[in-house]
């Protein structure tokens, strides 16, 4: 299975609505800041950064984009600023420690299975490591008492999708209406679309239901 991705909405760009009644001033300010201020690395070390970038690349591969949506810089920013989300799961160390330990452990898993660092693996090898972390088939002692699946799902995957799907490019590719104040919508029922919503140009592909 390759990384190719085709959006069902190739002609839609949510940013085309920037000056429309769907985008109020405060929304424009917030989104402009996100697009124009990609933070520098301040929390992770350079070796950690390399592992994190490789991980982001596999969780959200973007082969069709010359300029991919940046993800790692925003994870780094949240950790540097010590931003909390409201929950400290008792089974996981505090965020900063969980991330450092988890990245080191993933790298060790790569070395154990393939005798190379994670960032040097092929795409399919990296995917195999991520799946092993999810199923708990791990070998590294670096994990300690941190459950690998919890780290993967509650930190890695969660943080990555929360950054990626907050980006206008992601809104466009899934046909999300995006910001909608003050105008909102008029046509609410099935198969109805306001003129300022995405037009579906081809059927989305279904590979089968994800398994819990």
């Amino acid at each position: 299975m390759g990384d190719e991705f085709q959006t069902p909405y190739p002609s839609y760009n949510v940013l085309d609505k920037w000056n429309s009644p769907s985008w109020n001033g405060q929304t424009r300010r917030v989104v402009a800041h996100r697009l124009n201020n990609v933070p520098d690395r301040r929390f992770f070390t350079e070796p950690e950064w390399t592992i994190l970038s490789a991980l982001c690349h596999r969780v959200i591969p973007q082969p069709e984009r010359a300029d991919p949506v940046p993800i790692a810089p925003f994870i780094d920013q949240e950790l540097y600023e010590g931003k909390s989300h409201g929950t400290h799961y008792a089974t996981l160390p505090p965020d900063k420690e969980a991330w450092r330990r988890g990245l080191a452990a993933i790298d060790e898993e790569a070395r154990h299975s393939y005798q190379r660092p994670f960032a040097d693996l092929s795409d399919s090898e990296r995917d195999a490591i991520i799946k092993a972390v999810d199923t708990g088939e791990v070998h590294s002692s670096v994990w300690g008492d941190m459950p690998p699946r919890e780290f993967l799902r509650k930190k890695v995957l969660r943080d990555i999708v929360r950054i990626y799907y907050a980006h206008p490019s992601a809104w466009s590719e899934i046909g999300f209406g995006g910001p909608a104040a003050p105008r909102g919508y008029l046509r609410l029922t099935m198969d109805r679309r306001d003129p300022w919503e995405a037009r579906e140009e081809r059927q989305a592909h279904v590979r089968g239901a994800p398994k819990p």
């Binding site: 990384d3 991705f5 069902p8 300010r29 995957l157 909102g184 995405a198 989305a204 994800p210 819990p212």
Partner: protein, 518 residues
Amino acid sequence: MRCYSESEEVDFAIVGTGAGGGVLAARLAEAGFSVIAFDAGPFWRPLEEFASDEREQSKLYWLQNRISGGEHPIEFGENNSGRAVGGSTVHFQMVALRWRPEWFAARSKLGYGFDWPVSWEEMWRYYAEIEDAMKISGPVNYPWGPPRGRYPYRAHEVNAAGLVLAKGAEALGVPWAPTPLATVSAPRGRSHPCVYRGFCKTGCSTNAKQSMLITFVPRAIKAGCEIRDLAMVGRIETRNGRVTELVYHRAGEWRRQRAKNIVVAGYAIETPRLLLSSASAEFPDGLANGSGLVGKYFMAHSNDAAWAVMPEEIRWYKGPPSMAVCEHWNYEDKKDFHGGYAFMSQGPLPVDFATALVANTGVFGAELREWMALYNHMGGLKIVGETDPQENNRVELSDEKDEFGLPLPKITFSYSENDKNLQQHSKKFMRSMLEAAGGSNFFDTTSTAHLMGGCRMGFSPKDSVVNALGRSWDISTLWVCDGSLFPTSGGVNPSITIAANAARIADGIKALGARGEL
């Protein structure tokens, strides 16, 4: 806004301005009491300060970490906790359902949980008051429970996500209804009708949502109540069995406010946390804790969901997220578990949906992007499932401290066997409904919603933290008025029950005052 000096002993200092504290502040101020309502969060101006953006709007949530343990640890933050004037009603999804009458006597009438020290008839009178004050938009006929009056505003047109539920319910032969919602379907004062922008969970930027911020907080101010925002209350002081003052952190320093009565309305985590962390030589186990029950019998709702790909374009981002509801299993007792659940149609925004997807399935890579590209074809049903009140599900103080030096709360939560049976039942039923509606490619997710209990009201100083009016059995000038009072959780969203209960408590306090018993 009227302001009080810190040395003035006000009649009531209320900690929290959500569905409990907001209603109580307005009703007590209108009754002539001097009132200050404190909130840890800011006093937002939605028209200028709310963006249409999930990430930005996380500013509405209580993001300070809570330690979450037990077999089924709860997610806090955006999942259930607000930090703003208006509390969680600023980001709630506006679902305004009444309790089934029998639930107020769950132990005597249905054989599980505990009875409330309140009759359903009394609660129903206050529901009517709250529904009118919040101008609930609802259907002409509601299919479940005893007859009720007309909702003040007509129901909204049901969106496609809701029509998936309707189609499935009709195919399976169970009733459904447009959800009664606290967002206006016609103009009200300075609120325009809802424009269906769909960002309800991240704060309404058009003020159609009838949150506390739009309804009871302005009423409170008009009646002479002071709202003191960005004020984190850290401690309640007592002397000779009476409260004397609140200690709170505002604008970089600790300050004190004198008050005759103090009402804690910080919701099911912060209320027990404040009572426990106010422990003193006089009350070494925390305030109002003679029963040892402060923080115990804490509950959440199970929030399991079934999802499917629909052949039609659904575009569930339009309109309030839950526009259709089915309460069939709240009113049907022939089933293999006690308690009940409502379920509603869903409309999660992209970040919210992607988070649920990866947390529950671990999907990643191109497959994840493809699943997200089905966003406009997804249909979903999600429960608000009753959970058992269990002593071991609890809020305690940890050894860790927050930025104010206050102990962080530690929460322990595990589902009971009955809770799990309920969840299983719901997932099976909702999947069959999505199938009947024409869906395919099914999957389930699990989560929790809402927080309740931890300072339950009851019949005696042994069985509860406070009496039926939220008054501490131990300290007669200390009160609780929020969701932490719930002895059981019920199978519907708690907001209007918290609000109705607060209006009832306000009338009780007024009556006590008139008799000189405060």
